[in-house]
């Protein structure tokens, strides 16, 4: 295999937007005008800040109602978990699984994985970089899919507006949940994947 040389070793920096290689001292990319940084020094702080606000928003998102359904003058409220339980009662197992994965499994998994990556890459480690990169890519790719439930609430609200007979309104949890998804997406994007290799011990870059 070809010997791998990093930009940092040769006093250069790779533009994260367009992959042009520039001298380390240069401030902005000549091709796309992106700010250049060999390593994002604030990456750790940004990841933790976004992750914590994401977690804070996720708590009310689960406690309060996503949907407020009014049918024949009776209003029922359903939370995220309540919505999944309703779907199971209706026998719609496949859809229940989709909502459960998108609203519970993915967000919770994302908190754990981002925290794991942020903690691990600040110290010397021997973990297989390909596995860490895969985790990061999965989190970045899959995180957006949590938005499904927010869109479902939007669609139901728009369609079911029959005055007294039946109306569906969004609850405050829909806002909290959308914010939580946005914040954790920003957390995943703030993680600087180049750090994965920086403190790798044992196996050298040359493989």
């Amino acid at each position: 295999m070809q010997r791998v040389i990093t930009a940092r070793e040769t006093g250069r920096v790779v533009c994260r937007s367009c992959s042009l290689v520039a001298p380390a001292k240069q401030m902005r990319c000549a091709r796309c005008n992106e700010w250049l940084q060999s390593r994002d020094a604030l990456s750790q702080q940004k990841v933790w800040a976004w992750l914590i606000v994401g977690l804070i928003a996720y708590i009310p998102a689960n406690l309060y109602a996503m949907l407020r359904t009014t049918q024949s003058f009776r209003t029922t409220e359903s939370t995220i978990v309540g919505g999944v339980v309703d779907l199971v009662h209706h026998g719609a197992y496949a859809v229940a699984i989709i909502v459960f994965v998108a609203s519970i499994v993915i967000p919770v998994g994302k908190f754990i994985v981002i925290a794991y990556l942020a903690i691990l890459t600040t110290r010397r480690h021997r973990t297989d970089p390909h596995r860490l990169l895969l985790l990061h890519e999965v989190v970045e790719f899959i995180g957006r899919w949590s938005m499904i439930d927010v869109f479902v609430v939007a669609i139901l609200t728009a369609l079911v507006q029959f005055d007294v007979l039946a109306t569906i309104n969004p609850g405050i949890a829909a806002v909290c949940f959308a914010l939580s998804v946005v914040f954790t997406m920003l957390a995943a994007q703030s993680f600087d994947s180049r750090q994965i290799w920086d403190r790798l011990e044992g196996k050298s870059n040359h493989e």
Partner: protein, 202 residues
């Protein structure tokens, strides 16, 4: 700067790409990130795909998306209605965010791509800020959620199944077409090729 030196944006490895290699699919030896896609899609093809998507999205906005029948009640909702359903009091910011995720950001990506690469496709000079526009196309990618919205529609249909009869309007199928075309377009968008084309046209 020689433009045949390419860096890996994921792991910081650098490579010198010979011109004949830049036309093929190449991967980073360390992390496996795709450096070049090796698809010889012409810029004109990318621009016309984007223009098609803009036209389709314009139709989506005005045609009914879903129609609902329950007893004597009927309600047809366009995509805009779906978003306006939220628009009361504190839900307004959420309504705007949903509108951005499902419609405005996908639309912006198509328009920015046409702005950045359209002049090259027709043999003109780059427009001002073309580089910023192209950077925006890649930057907005994770925030354009049209395909996620489609899954949301499927879930909503199941939830409403015992409350009302739902029929799918023409805008639904057009929107599905946009999602598929957009996914295809993204597989052709090799950063190296597009940036090289942009900088060579100056």
């Amino acid at each position: 700067m020689s433009t045949d030196t390419v860096g890996c944006v994921v792991c910081d490895a650098i490579y010198s790409l010979r011109p004949e290699l830049a036309d093929q699919a190449t991967q980073c030896a360390r992390c496996g990130h795709r450096i070049t896609y090796g698809k010889r899609a012409t810029l004109a093809w990318l621009v016309s795909l984007s223009a098609t998507n803009v036209a389709l999205l314009a139709m989506v906005v005005f045609l009914p998306f879903l129609e609902l029948h329950s007893g004597q009640f009927e309600n047809a909702a366009s995509v805009i209605d779906v978003v306006l359903g939220f628009s009361s009091g504190i839900m307004v910011p959420l309504a705007l965010a949903v509108l951005a995720f499902i419609l405005m950001l996908p639309l912006s990506r198509f328009l920015l791509l046409i702005y950045a690469l359209g002049p090259i496709a027709v043999g003109r000079r780059n427009l001002p800020y073309a580089a910023r526009a192209l950077r925006g196309v890649f930057l907005l990618k994770p925030w354009a959620m049209a395909e996620i919205f489609m899954v949301g529609v499927a879930v909503a249909l199941v939830k409403l199944a015992d409350l009302a009869t739902i029929s799918i309007g023409p805008a639904f199928w057009i929107f599905a077409g946009v999602v598929i075309l957009n996914a295809y377009q993204d597989t052709l968008m090799c950063r190296h090729t597009l940036w090289t084309a942009l900088i060579c046209n100056e």
